[in-house]
Amino acid sequence: MRVGLFVTCLIDLMRPRIGFAALRLLEAAGCEVVVPATQTCCGQPGYNAGARGAAQALARKVLDEFDAFEYVVVPSGSCAGMIRTHYPELLADQPAELARVQRLASRTYELTDFLLNVVKLEKVPGAYNGTVTYHDSCSGLRELDIKAQPRALLAKVAGLKLKEMNEAETCCGFGGTFALKFGEISAHIAERKCGNISASGADAVVLGDLGCMLNIEGRLRRRGDMSTKVLHVAEVLAGVEERPHINANTRG
C-alpha cells in the first residue's frame, strides 16, 4: 500500500521527530511511505484568515503532489480536516479540479484514524511508563470524529495508563492566528485547559495536533509547570519521545 505522508508545516519546522514517529508507525503497519519533497503547507492559515485565493493556490499544490497516492496520511487532525472537509468547498467552483479534490479528500486520513481503521494496526512499538490524559483537538474531533481512535491505540501501549481530564473536548484556545491576535483571550482559554490537565493528575498530556501542543506546553511552562509532558500521540505510539537529546520536554 503506497501512502503519501503529509508532514505538515508545523511539524517540519518545530518537531521533526513527530514526522519520523508517523513514518515509523506507518512502516510498522506495512505501508510503503513516500514523503513528497516539495510539500509545504496545506493552506489552512490563509483559509481561516479569509485569504481564499492563497488557500486555493496551496490546495492545488497539495492536490498535484498527493494525487497519485492510494492514501494520504497526516499526523494532524487540523490539516487532515482541511484537506478532507474544506478543500472540496474551496475548489467547488472549479469543475476540473473538483472531482480530483474530492477523490483526494476521501483518501486523506488523520494518522490514528488511518492506523486503527484502515491498516488495522495490531501492535504498536511504543512503551510508556506512566499516566497520560488525552486532549481532543477541535478539528480532529469535530471535523473527522477523531475520539476513539487515539484512545484505542494508546490502550495498546505497554505500561500506559489513560486518565481522562474534565472538558477534554473543550478548545485549548489556540485557533491559529487567533492565538496571536487575541493573545490574552487565547491564553485565558489555555489556562482553563491547563487547570484541567493538572487536575487529572496525569504526568503527560497527549494530543494529535502541533498547534495545540505548542499552546498547551507554552502555557503550562509559563504557569510554572515544568514537569507535565506534552506529547504527540505519534511519539507515544512509536516510542520516540524518550530520546532526551532531541526532547524539549524532558530537561537535564
Binding site: 517540519d12 519533497a37 484556545g173 487567533f178 509559563r222
Partner: protein, 466 residues
Amino acid sequence: MQVASMHFKSRAREKLVNRNLQNALNKLQGNFVRGRAQRVAEMDNFEAIRDAASAIRDRVLDRLDVYLEEFERNATARGAEVHWAETHEDVNRIVCELARRHGVRKAVKSKSMVTEECALNDALEAAGIEVLETDLGEYILQLAKEPPSHIVAPVVHKTRDEVSDLFEEKHGTPRKTDIAELTREARERLRGHFISADMGISGANFAIAETGSTLIVTNEGNGRMVTTLPRVHVAITGIEKILPTLEDVATLMRLLPSHGTGQSISNYISVTTGVKGEREHDGPEHFHVILFDGGRTSLVGTELQPMLRCIRCGACMNHCPVYQSVGGHAYGWVYPGPMGSVLTPAYVGLEKALDLPNAATMCNQCGVVCPVKIPLPDLMRKLREQQFARKLKPWTERAAFGAWCWTAQRPAIYAAAAAIGARLLALMGGRDRLIHSIPLAGGWTASRDMPAPQGVTFRELYRRQR
C-alpha cells in the same frame, strides 16, 4: 443600540480580569451546557429532529415573502394590525405613533432582543412614555442601566451579590440575599404596573403563518401578563421568525428550551392570536404586529442566509470558549457570541465590527451544538473573506499572508526559510528550550512561552537519512 464592537479587544481585556464576571460566567457552563447535554441524551431521535427543524427553517427562508404575506392575511383576519418596518427608526416611530393613537402613558415589556436592536425603550422614554421591563433579568438591567449580555439569560454577567446591592440601593429596602426573596421583591414592584399599563410590548420567538399568531416562550409568567392584561399589545419581531404551521412550532419547541436553558419544556408557551373576542374575558382590544427587517433581507440569497435559521436559543454562546472568557458585553452590540459575530457585522456593517468574525478559535463547538445546524465558523470565515477582499484587514496582515503564500508555493525558498527559522528559534529558546518573548508575536508570548523547535527541519533530516 449603539455599536461598540470596534472596541472588542479593549473591552475583552477588561472582562478577563473582572473577578465578578468570571465567577458569573462559570455558572453558564454548569447549568446550560450540562442541561443541554442531558436533554439531548434523553431524545432518541435528536438528529432527526434537528434535521427536520433546519429543513423547516430553510423552507421558510426560501419563500419568506410568501409566508410573511400569509401571516399578514391571517393576522389581519383575526383583528390584528400588521406593520412593516424596514429600519429600527421605523419600529420606534410606529410604536410611538401607536402609543399616541391609543393614548398610552405606560408600557410594560416582556423580554425582546429585537427591541434591543431598536433601542425602543429610549425612544419611548423620549416620547414621554413610561416603560418597564418585566422579565426579572431585564428588570434588573433596567435598574442598573445596562444592556443584556446574553440573549436568553440577559443578566448572567451579574452575581447574586451585585443584584442584592442593586435592589437595596434602588428599592430602598433591607438587603436580601436569597434568590426567592429577591424575586418576590421584584414581583411586588411589578404587579401594579401590569394592571395600570396601557400597552404591553413583547417580542416573538415565532410568528405562525397559518394562524397569524405570535408566540413567546418564557419561564416567569410575566410574558403572559404583558400580552393579555394591557388593552394594547404590540408584538415586534424579525421577519425571519416565521414558521409555516403550528405543527412546525411543535418541532422547533423540541429544541428551543433544551438548547436555551437545558429544560425539556419551558414553563410557558404563550400564543397570541388576534384581539379579544366578544365573549372572551381577557386579551388585548388592539393587537399590533410589527415585522422588522433591520438588515435581514440583505442576507437572503447570500452565503450568509443560513444565519437566518437562528432561533435565538443561545447554545452557541453558552458553549463558546471565547464567550465563556469575556462575556457578552465585550462584543459591543445586541448579539454576542458566535451568532453575534455573524449577525453584528451583517446588520451594522462589516467595517463597524472588524474584530468579531476573527475573535473565534474556529473550534466549531458552536456549529456542533446549534439546533438548526448553522455552520457558524464557516459563516465567520465568509466574513473574513469579505474583509480580506474589501481590504478591511490591516495591510500588514494582507502583506504577511501574501508573502507566506508566495513562499509556500516555492519549495526551495520555503525550505531555506524554514531551516533558518528553525535554527533561529532554537537559539532563542536557550538552555531551557523555551522562548519567553518573540518580536511581533507579543500576543503569544505575553502570557505563554513558545516551546523552541528542535533546530533542524524534518525535510533536512529526512534527506540526510534517505
